[in-house]
Structure formats: C-alpha cells, structure tokens
C-alpha cells in the first residue's frame, strides 16, 4: 500500500503535467524522483534496458526553462515516459531485446520518439521486451526477463513487459509499446494497466524496428484511460515517412475519455464476442469480465452477444502471417551495415559471416519464427499455409464488418489467464502463443483495441484485463467505454486498482 498525494511518482501523467505547468513541481524534480525510483527498484523488476538519466534531466530542464520564459506548455510537458526498446532513438542504445543489436546507437529518431520530444515529454529510458517483439512474456529478451510487480515470480506479459512493468513499479507514469499480436494489450491486462493498439496506420512506423509490417502498430501505455488518451494524441497523426500512414485527423480520444468518465455509456451498443469465453479461460478472468459487462449494462449500454466464427482461426492465421513477414523483415540483420558481426576472419565469406552472426545474435524464438515463416512461404507449402492464412484474414475482417453493423464496440477478456509463472511456458511455444488468442483478430483486421483493468481474479489476486475493440479510425469509442468502466469500477472499489499492488 502507498500514500497518495504529493509523492510525485504516484501521480497520474495529467496531474503531473498540471503540477509542472502551475509551478507546483519542476520538471527536473519530477524526472529526478522517477530516476531515484528506478535506481531503487529496477534491480528487482528489470523493466529497463537503458536509463538515459542525462538526456532525461536535460529534457526536463528545457521544460522548466520554457515555463520560466512564459512559453505555453503542452498537455504532457515534463512528464517522464518509458519507451519500448523497439523504437529508434538517435544516439541512445536501441537493442530490440536482441544481442544482434547490442550497443547499437541509431543515427535517427523514430517518428514516435521525435513527436514525444517535440511535445516535451521526457524519455527516461528504454524498456525491456521479447526479442524483436516476438513473445508474450518478455522472457525472450536476450537481457533476461522483466518481472511482474504484482508477483515477482510471474511474467509481466509481452512483448512489451518492460513498458507495462515500469508503470506498475511507479518508475514512469507513461510508456510506449508496440502491438503486433497483442504486445501492448496483453501486458496491460496482466499488470493492471491501460494499453491501446490504435488503428493500423494511425501511429507512424518510421523507426519502429519492423517485425510484421502489416500488423505492427505503436501505441500508448498508462495507468489511467485519460493518460493513455493524452499520449495517444501526441504520438498519432499522418507521417510522410511511413507509406502506410493514414492521412486523416486523429480521432478525438481525449474528449472521448472525459465524456466516458462524466457521462458513461448510455445508449452505446456493446457486443460480447461469443468465441472468447468458456473452456481455457480462468474462472477469475470470466468472473471479472462478466461483472464488468453487467456494470456497463447497468450504466445503460445495450449488450448483445456477437458470433464471429472465424475468430477461432485467427491464432493459426497470425502464426503464419507474422512469421512470414518476420522472415523477410529480419533478413536485414546480415552483419554488414550495423550490429553484431561474427566470424569475419578473412576466410569466411560474407554469406558465412551472415549465418554465423545470425546464429550467435538471435535467440530461439526469433530463429523459430524465421524458419516457420521461411517454411510457410516455400513453394509447395505457400498455398496451404501463407495463402490460406491470408484468406482467413479476409474472413476475420468480414466478421468484424458484420459485427460493427450491429454494435459500436466489441468486448472480451484481453487474455485467457492471469500472469503465469516465469519459465512455465518458455519451452512450449504453442502454449505461449495462446496468450494472444483474444488480441490477434484486431491486428489482422487493422482496427483499434484497448485493454483496461477490470479487477483481480479471486483465485490468485492477479489483475484481469477487459478488452474493447472498435472499427478502424473510431479509436475514440475505446476511450469512451474504457473511461466509463474505469470510473464505475473505481467507484465500486473505492480506489484505483494499482493501490493494491504490493510494495517493492
């Protein structure tokens, strides 16, 4: 338990930004408080791969200088943020959790990093992740696992476990993740935080190291729905440097979060996905999920059941499409222009050096997926695997279209179970993949999804995530429903869920 109030690390991002803008706190004080917290607890949590104390304090001092000059500050100016190590940061190490990029100093900033800097958000460090974002537990990091602050023997989800854990450990009030099959939402669910996968194409992929280009999407992670919305509006928007970036206005997500908290969800049509329930779902996950659906119905939402039969095949389709794209994208790690090089002894050829380097530089899950993708794209297997998966992708999109004719949003548990134990699934890829069962359809369809905490499972006292899905470019609906649920649950509990996280 902790005392709320003046302790800077416990405050929301919105609250911190207001305190900095009013002069109650300096940005340097706020950044220093978080650096101190990281120094104190990160040897237990291991959320960070790199802490950029110098860069963060300089950025914070610049915010204080702006304020002293009377310049107007942005809505999150001076607030510290933990950036997933899959986004390039100029001159600051970027590893993607891989040995192959150990020590790499990118010569450019990702658009997300640039937008954060331009908004005066203070990037405090780079967070741990499954290697190249391939995994559901952060155990696939070459630099060791991140631990879940709710129970240090358990995983914080993945691939963005470092970003999610940094929020729960009060090391940062904001974080950025990337979501290819659930890597923002699933860690949010198992850590009791908020995570959003925006509509595909609404957050630039420039400088987001590519895993599966038709699925990857950066997005906000926070402790509250409003904080996520404030961050969403900063990172989203058209970018000419990403050819798949959508040239459309960003949906009004901050206004939607405020409206959801104030007015609720009266009149909104909510569809419960029939496929994501029953066998394989932990009893506490089902219980908290259904209680939340009842709560939303009690607030005046119209709840119906939605049948989306193709969703049963989203997981196998994803584990063909994502590895196929990864086998192509990761071909860039050839030991020639950046990163690790092994075996360059004047005897080995370039091709042999590439193979020796990739053998030494990639971990087992990355190797598995590259080989699986290579297999799925092979002549003779292409039609049965990659080709068929692309057709299933069409069926999933059609099921979404049909559902969104009847309802405004779809809801389900974010992930079938609460946080599992470190090591439990590490050598059983198929059981590990099940963690993404409910999050994957959204990535395949390119629409928007959010996970918001909906309580602790009675059987183990661990957080449960409530997933909300909305049509492409209707991300604001996520925030309206998420904020309404968050407000109603906090009203019931009498406090935010993170007040129950054990002290570190």
């Amino acid at each position: 338990m902790y005392a709320s109030g003046s302790d800077a690390i416990r405050r929301t991002a919105a609250d911190l930004a207001a305190a900095i803008a009013s002069g109650e706190l300096s940005a340097v004080e706020v950044t220093q408080a978080h650096l101190d917290r990281i120094a104190k607890v990160d040897d237990k949590v291991k959320a960070f791969l790199h802490v950029d104390a110098q860069g963060a304090l300089a950025a914070a001092a610049a915010v204080d200088a702006k304020r002293a000059k009377g310049e107007r500050l942005g809505p999150l100016a001076g607030v510290p943020l933990a950036l997933k190590d899959v986004f390039t940061t100029r001159g600051v190490p970027t590893t993607c959790g891989s040995r192959i990029l150990e020590g790499w100093l990118p010569p450019y900033d990702a658009t997300v990093a640039r937008r954060l800097r331009e908004a005066d958000v203070v990037i405090i460090g780079k967070t741990n992740m499954d290697e190249f974002a391939m995994g559901s537990s952060t155990e696939n990091s070459a630099y060791g696992p991140t631990r879940n602050p709710w129970d240090l023997e358990r995983v914080p989800g993945g691939s963005g476990g470092g970003s999610a854990a940094s929020l729960v450990a009060f090391e940062a009030p904001l974080a950025i993740g990337s979501d290819t099959g659930g890597s923002i939402r699933q860690p949010a669910a198992v850590t009791g935080t908020v995570g959003v996968k925006p509509t595909y194409g609404s957050v630039s992929r420039y400088g987001l190291v590519a895993f599966s280009s038709s699925l990857d999407q950066g997005g906000p992670c926070a402790r509250t729905v409003l904080d996520a919305a404030l961050l969403h509006e900063i990172i989203a928007g058209h970018d000419p440097l990403d050819s798949t970036s959508i040239d459309m206005p960003v949906p009004p997500v901050v206004a939607a979060a405020r409206r959801g908290a104030d007015e609720g969800v009266r009149g909104l049509r909510i569809g419960v996905v029939k496929q994501f329930d029953g066998e394989g779902y932990a009893p506490g996950v089902r219980q908290r999920f259904h209680e939340s659906v009842e709560l939303l119905a009690g607030l005046g939402a119209e709840v119906v059941e939605i049948d989306a039969p193709s969703f049963d095949h989203a997981l196998p389709a994803y584990y063909l499409i994502a590895p196929s794209e990864c086998s192509s994208n990761l071909a860039r790690f050839d030991a020639m222009r950046y990163g690790l090089r092994v075996g360059d002894d004047g005897v080995h050829s370039a091709e042999e050096v590439t193979a020796l380097t990739r053998e030494a530089g990639f971990g087992p899950e990355v190797k598995r997926r590259i080989m699986l993708g290579t297999y799925a794209l092979s002549s003779g297997y292409y039609d049965a695997y990659y080709g068929q998966a692309q057709k299933v992708r069409t069926l999933i999109i059609r099921d979404f279209e049909k559902a969104f004719e009847r309802v405004d949003v779809l809801v389900s548990p974010t992930t079938p179970t609460t946080a599992f134990k470190i090591g439990e699934r590490v050598d059983d890829p198929v059981s590990m993949y099940l963690a993404d069962l409910c999050t994957i359809p959204t990535n395949l369809a390119g629409n928007a999804g959010m996970s918001v905490p909906c309580g602790l499972a009675p059987e183990d006292g661990l957080p449960v995530g409530f997933q909300i899905l909305a049509p492409a470019l209707q991300d604001d609906r996520l925030y309206r429903v998420g904020a309404a649920l968050e407000a109603a649950l906090e009203d019931r509990w009498g406090h935010p869920i993170l007040e129950e996280v054990p002290a570190l």
């Binding site: 100093l105 010569p107 450019y108 900033d109 595909y200 194409g201 038709s214 000419p240 440097l241 050819s243 798949t244 959508i246 095949h313 196998p316 389709a317 584990y319 063909l320 086998s327 071909a331 050839d334 020639m336 222009r337 950046y338 690790l340 090089r341 360059d344 080995h348 050829s349 370039a350 091709e351 042999e352 590439t354 193979a355 990739r358 053998e359 087992p364 190797k367 598995r368 590259i370 080989m371 699986l372 290579t374 297999y375 799925a376 092979s378 049965a384 695997y385 080709g387 068929q388 692309q390 057709k391 299933v392 069409t394 999109i397 890829p429 198929v430 993949y433 395949l444 390119g446 492409a472």
Partner: protein
Amino acid sequence: MPSITREEVAHLAKLSRLELSDAELDHFAGQLDAIVSAVARVGELPTEHVPPTSHPQPLTNVFRADIVRPAGTPVLDRAEVLAQAPAAEDERFRVPRILGED
C-alpha cells in the same frame, strides 16, 4: 499435414542463413512440428471464393513532391552511420569477401 523432419529444419536453417548447432536442429525439429500442426488449422475453413488479404488497408504507391526537403527532415549523417558499422574503411562499409575462391 506433413511433419517436419530434422533434415527439413536443416534446409530451412540454410535458407534462413542460420548456422544452427546439432543440438538446436534436434530441439527445433520437434517444436516446429508442433507449431506447424497447430497452425495447419487454417485449412479447416472453407475459403474457395475468398480473396486473400495481405494488408489491412488498400495500399497505393506514395510519392513525395520532387523538392529539396526542408531543414530538420531526417537525413542520415555519414559519419554517424559508419560509426555503427561492424567494419568501415575509406568512408564505406567493409564487408567480408563475396566471391568464391575458385
């Protein structure tokens, strides 16, 4: 559906430019077989007249105007890039030999 043999894994590793050890070949053969058996379920759905989707958005080629980019547009610095190379020589990337001995 076909099961994946150790020999197939060795072939995939070669295509993937991965110099796998013998122990890895044994280990991955069983795992890849289990994964392929699981993902083969995509074949259960009838998709005879269903078009494939490769991307969630309709993709069109994107051109930029043929003008000098404004200051501040990211342009990579040569020295900064070469400083990150595994090996550089004469302001270029130095790579191992690419031609065979014979």
